[in-house]
């Protein structure tokens, strides 16, 4: 059996939203078991990249390819990508009134199982898993019966995203500014949750503005995105340099 090593490969990716080019030739290669950080100034295309990887239909790919586990997924719907193992932790998770956290995650898991031709997860197993993952993220059971993201604090929303990630056990998790809106204690809990879920068979992309998250989730590689391109790649020290001196030197280097 062919064993893939490349989790995600992005070649010369260009994309537009409402006619406006945002990504202008992204190249990225992520192997199994690796953690990559993506940094960059506001408006550089980081969140767009996260959305394009997840298959958001507002973003039109005009050039280039995305391969996931060796398969081209340019045309794959968001739900099919999710079934294949792509997970996006949203920067701004949406509210769904009247749908509890438990009901939502149960539906998500069972829809993915259905797509793979597996029977629904038995309730007892589901419950056990929910308990385990909730305790991992220090979530109490009241939280699970609240309406999804409704009235959640910023920290609760992000914790809920990572809880869903832990439940769905994706092969590729894209964390879009998961650290924004978190105080230091919440940040530690969330980061710790990510670390505990990450292993040699899955990969993580951490999109962030700040170095501090990377103190907890230590990346193997750091990429700087500016104006729709990866302008520099390096190891965790690159993130530290950015934190100290900002992005200006890269602009100069580029020109």
């Amino acid at each position: 059996m062919d064993k893939f090593i490349n989790m995600l490969e992005i070649n010369n990716l260009h994309c537009k939203i409402e006619g406006k080019p945002i990504l202008k030739g992204i190249n990225l290669k992520i192997n199994k078991g690796e953690i990559h950080a993506i940094m960059g100034p506001n408006g550089s295309g980081k969140s767009t990249l996260a959305n394009v990887i997840s298959g958001h239909e507002d973003y039109e790919i005009t050039k280039g390819n995305i391969y996931f586990k060796g398969q081209e997924i340019n045309e794959l719907s968001p739900e099919d990508r999710a079934h294949e193992g792509v997970f996006l932790s949203f920067q701004y998770p949406v509210e769904i009134p009247g749908v509890t956290v438990t009901n939502f995650i149960k539906t998500a898991i069972n829809e993915s199982r259905k797509a793979k031709g597996i029977d629904e997860m038995p309730s007892s197993e589901m419950l056990k898993k929910i308990r385990a993952k909730a305790s991992l993220l220090e979530i109490d059971s009241n939280f699970l019966s609240r309406s999804l993201n409704q009235g959640f604090s910023g920290g609760e929303k992000k914790r809920n995203e990572i809880f869903q990630m832990a439940m769905m056990e994706p092969e590729l998790a894209v964390l879009d500014e998961t650290d924004s809106g978190l105080d230091i204690d919440a940040l530690k809990i969330v980061a710790n949750g990510v670390i505990k879920c990450s292993h040699e068979d899955n990969s993580v992309i951490v999109i962030t503005h700040y170095q501090r998250l990377l103190d907890y989730i230590v990346p193997d590689f750091v990429h700087i995105v500016m104006d729709g391109r990866v302008v520099k790649s390096g190891d965790k020290d690159l993130a530290k340099k950015i934190e100290e001196v900002g992005y200006d030197w890269l602009k100069k280097e580029k020109s």
Binding site: D58, E75, S77, E79, R81, A82, F90, I96, F104, M168
Partner: protein, 481 residues
């Protein structure tokens, strides 16, 4: 491949009405038109006593002087009342003891609807009085109920066998001349259900009636009367499906509930009549008058899931006459394509310490219009009346409408009235969020709408909550915008 909005729309348009079939049952139908002779003929056909015939004739006289109301937020071609046949009954007028004696065609119809009587009998403990067109053909569980002194039968049977009860209560909550459609119903009602729960008796099962409209071009004028005597309890469910037909079918039912001191009536409706096709052709016109009266410390709860009909005009109401009585109204109305609904409630606070709760959820999709219209009235003598109203609307797409017409009339300073309203739209961001978690668009819409409707779905009897949830998913055929 990704599921685009256009594809969704296309698929929805081609979805046939689930229960759109027509059963060929040998029927006897009156000639079209309405006059005194027809009213008399209906009464005679049903072998009614003179007082009943006179009652009908009086209603007919009143109706002739009345005008069809035009205040609702509905646009439709008024039915031609002289173009309708006012009586249709399965010919083999049955006197049945078991299902074996029922017309096999009819049984097949029930099978298609998934409401096989046998199954119902055995599995769910639901007693049903089935109305096909206008005359009851089968009543189950009668004997179990009889042991408790509960009367559950067709209104025709009640007129024959319990005339004193009918005569005492009929038209006391909704007078003959209450409104145009109620007057019409009073004159020509063909059949319906009657239910009496004696003092102190708790009805051990959900009482359920399945109404169906079967004969093309036949109006349906059911009459339902539920009487809960002191300290009794009953939960009643009506559920409706109808075959898909081209011409508009008029439906003008009247439901009267009477809750004596310390009694409780829970009345739930799942309505799924043919809503018309995607171009707005056909569909049932539903003009219903439903009202209950609460005596001291009694309670009436209306719960409705309205997904069908081309036109819905319906305001299940409570007259809180007794002190410490409680009225509740929980409603989900879903409209799609060209459906129009103008629905809500009236809570009339007359007694002291009366309480009412209104939870109304409207879901509009396609080019439909969905209106909530509600009245909360507190009389000068209703000390410490309390009302809480919540009206939420959910929109799908850009071509539908949601409207709220709350009327609040308070004549007593001690009243506490709260009204909350919200309008939201299913957002593409919500859909994408669900998609990203592996939930496809159709399932996502169902999930969001079920969440939106939860407070009302939770009020339905268990057996029907699942059915109602399914119905929402079927009717939802909305587009996302």
């Amino acid at each position: 491949m990704a599921y685009t909005e256009d594809e969704l729309k296309k698929e929805l348009e081609t979805k046939e009405y689930e229960y759109g079939f027509y059963t060929d049952i040998d029927s006897e139908t009156f000639p079209v038109g309405l006059n005194e002779d027809i009213v008399k003929a209906i009464s005679k056909k049903k072998n009614e006593p003179e007082w009943m015939t006179d009652w009908r004739l009086d209603a007919f006289k009143t109706w002739k002087t009345m005008k069809e109301p035009e205040w609702s937020n509905l646009k439709y071609n008024k039915p031609n009342f002289q173009d309708i046949s006012y009586y249709s009954a399965p010919k083999k007028k049955p006197d049945l003891n078991s299902l074996d004696e029922v017309d096999p065609e009819l049984l097949k119809t029930f099978d298609k609807l998934g409401i096989s009587l046998d199954e119902q009998k055995k599995l769910s403990g639901v007693a049903m009085d089935i109305v096909v067109d206008s005359v009851s053909v089968a009543t189950t569980f009668k004997h179990t109920l009889e042991e408790k002194g509960i009367i559950f039968c067709s209104i025709s049977d009640a007129i024959q066998n319990h005339p004193e009860l009918v005569r005492k209560h009929l038209g006391t909550v909704i007078p003959k001349k209450d409104n145009y459609y109620a007057a019409l119903n009073s004159a020509v009602f063909s059949d319906g259900s009657f239910c009496y729960i004696p003092k102190g008796v708790r009805c051990p099962m959900e009482l359920s009636t399945y109404f169906r409209i079967n004969q093309a071009g036949t109006g349906q004028f059911e009459r339902t009367l539920v009487i809960a005597d002191e300290s009794s309890y009953v939960s009643y469910l009506e559920g409706c499906t109808a075959p898909s037909r081209d011409e508009n079918q008029l439906h003008a039912a009247v439901v009267e509930l009477i809750a004596h001191d310390d009694a409780e009536i829970k009345y739930s409706t799942v309505q799924n009549w043919f809503p018309g096709d995607k171009n707005g052709k056909g569909g049932v016109f539903n003009f219903v008058t439903k009202r209950g009266i609460c005596h001291n410390r009694s309670k009436i709860s209306w719960t409705q899931v309205e997904t069908g009909s081309a036109i819905t005009w319906k305001y299940p109401s409570c007259i809180l006459k007794g002190n410490n009585s409680i009225g509740e109204f929980y409603s989900i109305a879903v409209t799609n394509n060209f459906q129009q609904a103008d629905t809500g409630t009236k809570m009339i606070h007359l007694g002291k310490n009366t309480k009412s709760t209104i939870i109304s959820k409207g879901v509009s999709a396609g080019k439909s219009q969905n209106s909530y219209r509600g009245l909360v009235q507190v009389s000068p003598f209703a000390e410490n009346a309390r009302n809480f109203s919540q009206c939420d609307s959910l929109l799908m797409g850009n071509d539908c409408g949601a409207h709220t017409f709350p009327y609040i009339e308070v004549q007593n300073k001690t009243a506490q009235i709260e009204h909350e309203a919200s309008t939201s739209k299913i957002g593409e961001d919500q859909i994408f969020y669900c998609n990203q978690r592996g939930i496809d668009t159709e399932k996502a819409i169902a999930l969001i709408v079920n969440g939106f409707s939860k407070e009302v779905l939770n009020k339905l009897p268990m057996e029907f909550a699942v059915e109602a949830q399914k119905l929402l998913e079927i009717s939802l055929e909305g587009s996302v915008g």
